[in-house]
Symmetry: C3
Subunit: 268 residues, 3 copies
């Protein structure tokens, strides 16, 4: 067993990183070095750099997951930025004591929906000597580093109240008690997360995904036989369609946008 | 050259991470944030998150590599957990002064085989308010953080002596001096690592992989001509089949399970 | 907003890492643990581990990007090493106050071209007890750790002046004012970076990539309509061919080696 150390080390700055950069090019390292240059002791946590290029909805969902897993003081730097160099704004948003730095293109949407709207500022003007193609490295990373270090950003900000929000489909509940939603994310295992939250599932429901009946919502993957589909509440508190030790996406033909429903009365 | 600093900084907590999560989803970040929340100054080292979903043998081999490369006090968190939510146990194992936190499904196998059996405990009961689908984040990460920080885990543990072990094939030596084994891992370069350890190779042997004769065990990749196959002792101390600046897996048709032999007497 | 902390934490050691190891095998973790063992508080920044196996040109370009993004005292460890175990030398190079540790196979080329030639040393002899197949872990990582910690490496070095350099094609300018170069890198987005630097583009030029006319050099991606090709100066200061929110590589059939030209007089 390891040796005894201090019981609780003091808080260190933490920045999480979300982008569509992939991991094969040096862009992510350039952004991390820009952060470390300003905030040497920051802890950097990669959330994902594998969202499809310019896929704002997927990045918005990943950002929300980082916010849910973090705590007051953590900074999130989300750089999916097809509009770089255009007049699109650059934002600093405060949610639950955490900070988000991102371009103003809808990345905040999913976080606002699940954690409430926070205060948002936009940078007043771009610094003079920067590239026109990599504001993640040249503008947003230094702001995130300042915030993580507990410093006022060297760039001036002004409050705004109209950040761009994505027009995401919401799950709906009909008067007859049918909850209807969509798959919003398919993960590495082929599990399909929906926009139906645990709170919308009341009592015994019967779940359908595409043309498939899945019966009741169960507790965990191992409540199904191996290779069989199952509906559960996933680790993000959302209804999830899975196949035990298999891919629900492949087996049931699910993808982002596929319709999923939970019906209180129907017997499947 | 960089400036002078302290000759040897004091030990910091280190946790290595092994999973089948891939890198595109936020799961790994959620687990890392759960660790950093409890142990802010821990050094996190990703070993692999690219084993095939639920491939316990591959994860077991990667875990052993991490143990071999680490030192007393380092903690390894291995989360390949198809049985999450089922009654499978969660283990804390001590090997060579290091700690391993993992589900009880065989992940310890390869480490025990190469580093000897250590003491193993299982958590006495799951904490109350956790997800049923992500014990890596909700149970194992906090235990790993406590161990890395040198604290007694807040969850109670009881010693066990019957961890699940995988039924892995072993290399065998016949009375006639023939060593017969299998490919256990094919790496990114197409090199095929076997379960035949350097100690089993005595004197001049002639190596066969599948239907291919590779002649004697050589010292390093560059002892073959470019594009030619070669048998060497790889960096993990195991017999490895390679093709210089090429892929042995592709060129020789090798994959996990392919038979490899080393014969002291045969002339190829 | 986060709490106030020290304005500028003291410098911590930083090592960037470049390799062709991929991320699925434990090799990168073994190298990182070898570093952390010697230099516990080092900040490790992955530049890329996704260059094609043994692709020295791509690794050389990635290394230059890391040097450009870093500062005095930062150490770069570049391990693309098809000649491991052969008599090829192992180098420590000093460029712009930074250090590079790499095998002597041309990895320095692009850095020298863009940042000037620096002093280079080679290790005098290999340490005795090491693997013949993983000098990145067993030789280069400990040297990088020593340099990052500001210590004299425990291994002796002697100055050399003949490091191996790659025979890379250079962009050329004709008397008639035509600049002709090649694509040197295609990134994750399908953007094609060329070896034509911003300084070679004088006045209004007309750009061609393969058989395609791209007109003048514009400022940023959003100066093109979505799906349309554009020539810009990328974030590395080199002429880049892009397609707004699309892949120039796919749309224009570009790859490493494709000819790109910028003509001061031609009207397209």
């Amino acid at each position: 067993m390891p040796r005894q150390t201090n019981h609780r080390p003091k808080r260190l700055p933490v920045i999480t990183l979300i982008s569509d950069f992939g991991l094969a090019d040096p862009y992510l390292a350039e952004m991390k070095l820009a952060i470390l240059r300003q905030c040497a002791n920051v802890r950097l946590v990669d959330v994902t750099h594998g969202v499809d290029p310019h896929d704002l909805q997927a990045a918005s969902i990943a950002l929300e997951r980082a916010v849910a897993a973090a705590w007051a003081g953590v900074v999130h730097l989300a750089v999916v930025d097809p509009g770089v160099g255009s007049p699109r704004r650059i934002l600093v948003a405060a949610v639950a004591g955490q900070s988000i730095v991102c371009p103003d293109n809808g990345l905040l949407t999913w976080t606002w929906r699940r954690h409430g709207r926070g205060k948002v500022s936009a940078i007043a003007r771009l610094p003079r000597v920067i590239s026109a193609t990599f504001h993640g490295r040249d503008v947003m990373a230094p702001i995130a580093a300042d915030l993580a270090a507990g410093r006022k950003p060297r760039i001036s900000l002004r409050a705004i109240n109209d950040p761009v929000l994505l027009d995401l489909e919401l799950a709906r509940m009909t008067a007859a008690g049918l909850v209807s939603g969509q798959v919003i994310h398919v993960d590495h295992f082929g599990n399909a997360t929906t926009n139906i939250s645990a709170e919308m599932i009341v009592g015994n429901v019967s779940v359908r995904a595409g043309r498939h009946s899945l019966g009741q919502v169960r507790r965990t993957y191992s409540d199904a036989a191996i290779g069989h589909p199952i509906a559960i509440i996933g680790s993000s508190g959302l209804l999830e369609i899975a196949v035990r030790e298999g891919s629900a996406a492949r087996k049931l033909g699910l993808r982002v946008g596929s319709v999923v429903s939970a019906d209180r009365w129907r017997r499947s």
